[in-house]
Point group: C2
Chain length 148, copies 2
DNA sequence: CCTAACAGTTAGGCTACCTAAATATCAAGT
DNA sequence: ACTTGATATTTAGGTAGCCTAACTGTTAGG
């Protein structure tokens, strides 16, 4: 039956996709293990760059629960990379802002990680890089479908 | 300069790639959170399917250290999904083999996860699915470059 | 035999996540 | 004003998965 064939193809693709996901987790771990700033902290810090991120927003954006975001923010604060201040408009809320040191740390971490990945991408053929580039927006779309 | 332009393009692609990696971790977490068998355990269990996986091999294959593999194996053993037995050829070594229940659990977990992902893939256009399919082998290549 | 290398387990510790409960503030309705 | 329900964050306590260091037992080469 045609629908079954289509389903089978989809399931096979899903299987390969899952394998890529698994490896991605592994790659992220390696990438993290060679840096001072964890990717969880880097994610929080990036959101604090504009100067007025709220805890709930950070959590939502990162796909974690609010207490997990608070935890990372406290660590960053202790490291002097962000500061927490009361929201002038809503005293329940907290504004998280990157300090100058935080800003520098993001740039550093981002650069180092990008260079590492770029080094690997540089060993690929142009066709391979094109394939990656073409797939990234689709990956993004898939990843957002998982939300919640 | 030409090389700098090329580098910039590579760095930009690296940045997007990293973003996809970050989201992959998130997706894996969601996927895991709705299942009984964690993906760490599923990985171990799959390697025990053929009946004679060794702890060191499992660890290497999964990209974790030996004690981490042992930990997962013990959990699976307690759940009755694998059994550990002495290697007849080398008494230092341990053979990890899936039980019938373990075999069934893998099939179940794999099917459910694949169906979930296939469901999402099914909402994409054929062109988008093609883009994913074309990129997966390249992802694989990149991921293996990170080894060690 | 002895010793170095190897296979695994145990012990102890870390990070990042989670849920539930506490605190404080806000916004509405009365 | 006053209560009440919703919202924002923190605190407390717990889990999973990973790591390194140290220990036990086995093997293999000199």
């Amino acid at each position: 039956m045609n629908t079954n064939q289509a389903d089978d193809a989809l399931l096979a693709l899903a299987q390969s996709f899952r394998e890529a996901l698994r490896q991605s987790v592994y790659v992220m771990r390696r990438l993290d293990s060679e840096e001072q700033l964890s990717s969880a902290q880097l994610g929080v810090l990036k959101m604090a760059l504009d100067g007025g991120a709220r805890v709930g927003g950070i959590a939502r954006n990162l796909g974690v629960k609010v207490p997990s975001a608070t935890e990372q923010i406290i660590k960053l604060e202790r490291a002097g990379l962000v500061k927490r201040e009361a929201d002038p408009d809503d005293s329940r809320a907290v504004r998280v802002a990157a300090t100058a040191a935080g800003r520098a740390a993001v740039e550093n971490a981002d650069r180092r990680r990008n260079e590492y990945i770029a080094g690997i991408l540089g060993t690929l053929s142009q066709a391979e890089r094109d394939a990656v580039e073409a797939a990234l927006p689709v990956f993004d779309k898939i990843n957002h479908s998982v939300q919640n």
